[in-house]
């Protein structure tokens, strides 16, 4: 059972999904869901002793021996973030600003005409900053070195995002298709970043022993931040 994907288990045994959610493991809402049960608790930083207790309780929930929704103790030690993880998490904040700006634009009528120039610029930042700077840095370092099924989900979500943006660019003149792809992208990215910030990166921070030397393109990062700030300020003078 521990080698089954979490989505399959939750689909077959919804009570397991409810129990895991109660313990802060909200896999039912994941867009991919191919992580294995055996990896899930490790990635969520449960110690081995508590993991055994949780697996034992899941067995009881599945067999019907228990229907009790127990909350297990989850103590997380605070560890200083490694430089690469700190940098990636800081970049998340900038990417989220892009995401929320795109969401605002898509909420407006005739947005692909009214905000054509701004939206095209933001889509370039998605490709050249969020993807080529940020996602590739993740993929070329931590994700390559610590690959497991959970990290495969992150790779898959990066590809899903690239496809939504490709479709958005191809269908820029069709407001409905454009909006559908942009909102699919923003919803994916918000969920993806939340998982990385709260689960995956804290886990990688505890196991990563490599001192990554990395460089980032500070010029494009500064340009994105300045553009978003300028866009925000202009909004209040429209």
């Amino acid at each position: 059972m521990n080698n089954n994907s979490i989505k399959d288990i939750i689909t077959q045994y919804p009570q397991v999904g409810e129990f895991l959610k109660l313990n802060g493991v909200d896999c039912a809402n994941c867009l991919v869901g191919t992580c294995l049960l055996k990896d899930i608790l490790t990635i969520h930083n449960y110690n081995e002793e508590v993991q055994e207790e949780i697996y034992s309780h899941i067995d009881k929930l599945i067999s019907g021996e228990s229907d009790e929704m127990i909350i297990f103790e989850h103590v997380q030690e605070e560890i200083a973030l490694q430089p690469i993880i700190k940098k990636l998490m800081d970049q998340h904040q900038i990417i989220l600003q892009i995401v929320y700006t795109i969401e605002f634009i898509t909420s407006q009528k005739y947005f692909n005409v009214k905000f054509e120039k701004e939206l095209k610029q933001l889509l370039e930042y998605v490709s050249n900053y969020a993807d080529k700077q940020h996602h590739l840095l993740e993929e070329d370092t931590l994700f390559k070195d610590y690959q497991n099924e959970a990290i495969n989900v992150m790779f898959e979500e990066h590809d899903m995002g690239r496809n939504y943006i490709k479709q958005a660019k191809l269908n820029f003149d069709d407001e409905d298709i454009l909006k559908e792809n942009l909102l699919a992208y923003t919803n994916l990215l918000k969920d993806h970043i939340h998982k990385e910030d709260t689960i995956l990166f804290p886990y990688l921070n505890t196991i990563c022993e490599k001192d990554y030397q990395f460089t980032t393109n500070q010029a494009i990062e500064d340009e994105v931040v300045a553009y978003l700030s300028d866009f925000n300020n202009k909004l209040f003078t429209i």
């Binding site: 997380q76 904040q93 600003q97 929320y100 969401e103 605002f104 909420s107 978003l228 925000n232």
Partner: protein, 122 residues
């Protein structure tokens, strides 16, 4: 309409993190503009203990005080109501950070109000 305000003050900057109202109700954290933008705001949300702030104009990080509120009180659910303008996501972000920093399993629900006062996302 019946008076339903659960506590005073309501500004995040002014509230005492140990105010007794925090242990009696779910918590609602709203951006300043929301109650004026959405004409039904009070009918929809005033069953909660309400805190308000503006992430663009208030020059502070709410997550520090909100972490104290969440840590010191038995709060099961936080609802965030914000405007759709990009600067307003900051209030949601600060609440997310506060929940994370509190180390508690607290449910978060977000409502987003459009600039014409309509509910655009839940």
């Amino acid at each position: 309409m019946k008076q339903k305000l659960k506590q005073w003050p309501i500004q995040i900057k002014l509230i005492d993190p140990n105010h007794p109202a925090f242990n009696e109700n779910d918590l609602l954290i709203a951006a300043d503009c929301c109650a004026y933008a959405d004409s039904e705001f009070h009918q929809k949300f005033s069953e909660n203990t309400i805190l308000i702030g503006c992430p663009k104009l208030d020059d502070i990080d709410y997550s520090i005080k909100l972490k104290e509120v969440l840590t010191n009180n038995d709060i099961k659910k936080v609802t965030v109501v914000r405007m759709i303008v990009p600067c307003c996501y900051g209030i949601e972000n600060m609440v997310r950070n506060a929940i994370k920093e509190s180390g508690k399993d607290i449910e978060l629900e977000t409502y987003v109000i459009g600039i014409e006062g309509d509910l655009v996302e839940q």
